[in-house]
Subunit: 306 residues, 2 copies
């Protein structure tokens, strides 16, 4: 209902009378008034005059009413320790695939391998719960899928030259603007859930990171719309998911890659691999050609562009 | 302390005076007496006479005192819904690798793909929490590791001709005596935990299963010692774990296999594969040669020996 009210107020751009609202929405004028007040409490500025209601500003929050297509699967928090932790509890409890956990800020945002992910207000932090019917062997492709979706969104929506650093960072002009973390629960036979966490430096002022990271607003010269980015990105992720088991995903990842054809050093659980990144295989593992011409494969690890 | 008392009473086989017990254990006679009473409450029959204490029978339970080497990592339950569920909660909560959850019976024992695992008293039901430092790609080998460990234990301890059915059953004379279920929590980079659930039909009377399943006692003609089996099996699993990333595990699996060189039908998430099982690859996937000579690989699925 609140989504519908917001839509009507935005479509009109001017005053909309309580009578029109109640007619369009098929509800009483008292009910309309109650929802209007609910929206005001959440930070929407809605003026009332003799001619009706007028929306003059919306809070810069990723509230569920702004994502009506997601319905009850969209869960918004002002602050959480980590959207990954919330999502894991939800996934273990049977939450549907497609459930999204969004937070305006995280107290203990997590990156890969238990590292911290700096998560103040102004960024986009969410975890998407997916329940693909795939064998765990395909799971690493989820990283590729998510990073391709982020890069496409930043390219199409903002016209930014987003490129991919293996395994799962998104760079603009060589600086990191997005990190992706995927966790799964699986039997050996079948994935039960894959939670994909995405952190995007949207409107942050990142002095803290030095030159390695940047925020989208640094490249646009102005604040970006977090709502538009999240909306497009979720659509893109659902679309890309259908490509998971085909070669198209790999081709797209390769075409966007900042890692292929570069000298790299990969730190893996099993040790270090250095050489030229020449390919990724069908499971998303990076193929590296050493100085002696030998090929080695890294399933996962920290990648340094040399 | 109770483990130590049991050891002393068993070593002697006859009466051991309270004085000797308190001296050997470095504790007071009152303390000895209290522990003796605790053991009696758990079902141990310990007679007391003027000459001391004598253990005349032990309950047929897999109590922690019988597995002193495991220390506090051994968690015994009379009945649970599922040792897998308990272990997952413990693993998420940070339980150490090597933690074992054992139950005398399960109300909702689980097999692969949410199937039921019939778990009345008399079987051996446990889940072992492991925290190997491996990439998720290696995880399917855990199934192989566990089934090799079970087969070796049944062979060495009981002299039974245990053989392996891909992916994770143990057969004797073609009938299933053990099922294995592995669940993992992982990032794409690194396994966080792998919980291996094992259900062994030890001393069950299995009319329910018909000819496809059997109990160890059917082949031995007498009840088997669940304690001895569990103790040997845990040792074997820890030993096999160190072979996880080497070829030895695969060679051992192959030598024990009842599936290789047979005509099989595999039902997988992606469809059905039929042909001759000719090999397993380094990740434990089964390689099947079709009638047209083509090779196909099954990561996981239900396997039918034709």
């Amino acid at each position: 209902m609140k989504s519908a009210i917001l839509n009507l107020l935005r479509d009109e751009g001017e005053e909309v009378s309580g009578e029109v609202l109640s007619k369009e929405l098929g509800t009483s004028r008292v009910s309309v008034w109650k929802h209007i007040n609910g929206l005001r409490e959440a930070g929407y500025v809605i003026e009332a005059s003799s001619r009706g209601y007028r929306l003059t500003s919306s809070p810069d929050l990723l509230l569920g009413w702004e994502f009506p297509e997601r319905g009850k699967k969209f869960q918004h928090f002002t602050t959480v320790d980590s959207t990954m932790d919330v999502a894991r509890v939800l996934a273990d409890g049977g939450a549907e695939g497609g459930t999204v956990v969004v937070a305006e800020s995280q107290n203990r945002g997590r990156g890969r391998l238990s590292r911290e992910w700096f998560s103040p207000r102004g960024g986009i932090y969410f975890t998407l719960i997916l329940r693909p019917e795939i064998a765990p062997a395909y799971a690493p492709r989820m990283n590729l899928m998510a990073s391709v979706a982020v890069a496409r969104t930043l390219r199409n929506l903002l016209g930014l030259d987003a490129r991919l650093k293996w395994p799962n960072d998104v760079l603009i002009e060589g600086r990191k603007v997005c990190g992706i973390l995927a966790e799964m629960g699986a039997e050996m036979d079948a994935v039960k859930f894959i939670n994909i966490g995405v952190g995007i430096n949207a409107n942050l002022s990142i002095a803290r990171y030095g030159e390695k990271a940047a925020s989208l607003k640094d490249f646009k010269g102005t604040q970006v719309s977090r709502k538009d980015i999240l909306n497009s990105l979720l659509e893109e992720m659902f679309r890309q998911q259908s490509l998971l088991t085909t070669g198209d995903l790999l081709e797209e990842w390769k075409s966007l890659s900042a890692t292929l054809n570069r000298e790299v050093r990969i730190e893996t659980i099993g040790g270090e691999i250095a050489g030229r990144a020449v390919d990724i295989d069908s499971n998303g593992a990076l193929v590296i050609k050493g100085k002696d011409g030998s090929l080695r494969t890294a399933f996962a690890g920290d990648c340094f562009h040399l």
